[in-house]
Amino acid sequence: MLSRTAENLYWVTRYMERAETMARLLEVGYRIALMPSAGEGNRNEWASILAASGVESYFQQSYSEANETTLENFLVFDTNNPSSVATCIAKARDNARVVRTAVTSEVWDALNSAFQEFKGLRPGDLPGLCDWTKKQTAALRGAIEGTQLQQDGYDFLNLGYYLERADNTARLLDVKYYVLLPTTQRVGGSVDNYQWITLLRSLSALRSFHWAYGGDYSPTKIAHFLILNKTNPRSLLHCVEEASYHLNRLARAYGQSTGAQAQANTKLARLAEAHVEDIISDGLHEFLRDFIRDNAGLGQTVADSYLFGSK
């Protein structure tokens, strides 16, 4: 496969995963806006959602206040925002368009219909927009699983998904990491409960959490669920495990091991051995910062090993 083709496939899924993250963030913001402003964190919740989106600097160029209207516009429709749903869908489709022959017509259809339908969407129905976006990403995922040959192209599509998702989960956690610090354990008031719920909800993990841990929230349980529980499809461990799985598959198929494979396996081994208590006592923020850095490093190594087609 051409290196450029692999690169395009990788970006198709990265962008669509990012579009989904934006929709999830907005959904959380919207739910909070519906609640009575009891806790003190409520009023600036849109600001923290903006922070979690990772594109705050672009926001400041053209908006002043973070609220439902501005964020809906910025995170969904604004094509100057490199991570808006509009930008992500257009870029995902562009990447697929230049490698049309490497994706099935169902996969192309999923991307192309998302792109065409998006033109008809208008602001003012935030839950509708979020649902719509998640449906599109689910349709793509389904088309990939149901129709793509499970060859190297499939591995590159999945690498895009999991590297992006790991980054998103880690960044969402980092924005809220202070909620999980030991000092808050003692507080345990309604404000914190509500903050935890927000965090879990933003990762579509609220109900899964209950299934896995019973009803009680505690910072260690939540951190464990989001970082180390590999049954949770958005946990860091799960993402790293999947990335390493697909890199191992590639190395086997090509009969050639690469730096990316070694790096992912090391990272996986380290994370699988980790204990959540240690992570928290050593500094959750530092842990997440390092994780985000390593994850980006892995993305770079994948690019060097396969995508840029080194001589």
């Binding site: 496969m1 051409l2 562009d94 022959t101 090509y254 396969y306 087609g309 001589k311």
Partner: protein, 463 residues
Amino acid sequence: MYQGDAIRDTYKSLAEWSEKLGPEELNAKRAEAEALFRRIGITFAVYGEGGDPERLIPFDLIPRVFTSFEWSRLERGVKQRAEALNCFLRDVYHRAEIVRAGRIPAELVFQNAAFEPSVVGFRPAEGVFSHIVGIDLVRTSADEFFVLEDNCRTPSGVSYMLENREIMMRMFPDLFRKMRVAPVEDYPDQLRRTLASVAPEKCITDPTVVVLTPGGMNSAYYEHSFLADQMGVELVEGQDLFVEGDLVFMRTTRGPQRVDVIYRRIDDPFLDPLHFRPDSMLGIPGLMNVYLTGGVSICSAPGAGVADDKAVYTYVPDMIRFYLGEEPILKNVPTWRCGTPDDLKHVLANLGDLVVKEVHGSGGYGMLVGPASTKAEIETYAERIKANPSEFIAQPTLSLSTCPTFVEQGLAPRHVDLRPYCLVGKKVNLCPGGLTRVALREGSLVVNSSQGGGVKDTWVIAD
């Protein structure tokens, strides 16, 4: 199709068919075809017009029909021309006998912008320079065809020939059962075989063929990816290829892979920034060196453009006589070269009746259709000609044949032209079909898709 009011025999069963369907059904079918095109993604961007870069070319449901008798004559004519053009290219890059013999002016060849001095003395594999020759033809009477222009570089549009057929077969299977239409679907196979047959000297294994595209923003990108897919070869951009030693490789996820034949869909000046334009981002540095030392074949060969220049065009009948010792089967449209003073005088005096084109123009841009232009337009154009006469040629407007076409008012005659695609490698091959372009506006003679023309399927009916 129409001779006076009579409908030619070949169209009878088609006429019955379309009458039976009626305009409403036809309209519904047309909408269906359009949806199919959009879904498959066959689109066409128009340079310099802005707007939707993924515009559809209008597709007309009524096919254009040739009998196999009509086609066999046309086929001989096209092959003859394609062969003579390749003889000419071999000759002008070697001893240039045709120039020595005084049959074509030296400056027209050697001062030509498309003449490529660096390939003088180089003989490409099988001696072929132009591997895909697209000849644009119009018909003026039952058995008279005129050649409008030759395309020796990278004639586009063949994907329409294939997709139009695909869609017609999907929508009207009954017609195909009745009419025995010669298939065109093996064109991609033939193309791949043609390209593989001109592998370079240094290629010792099964040749690796690639299609080289300028990228997704190019108006013909769909065609590039379609052809690569149909041939089962990689579609590459310049950045995917690199030169190491005296060979060309592509970057793949398994490491470098050697490339033997490049079917390029980018123009000469962009092929190699070290050799041509240093600012080209599309090319592969060092490619020309590999080419000239027999490490890779480039199709069409660099320098092939000198044969399809509109001023050289007027000499093609002479080429046929000179190289093949035959009389041309297809005629040239009488052409005045504004570079010669007598011709210029005639052209300026008769602008209202003539079609004037830029020698190096293409795609129907920058031309003047005298009968369809206002006085002011003609005057402005005359000034342009006077400023640089040798840049222009002029031709009479021909009484082009028309073909029934489905327009808003129902079926009506519209002007058409035809571009068949001749493949030249070890063998010469002409696919029984081609791209029929139709001028959708009543009375219009301009069929270019960039000027609002449409396309039709082209049928050759077996006896």
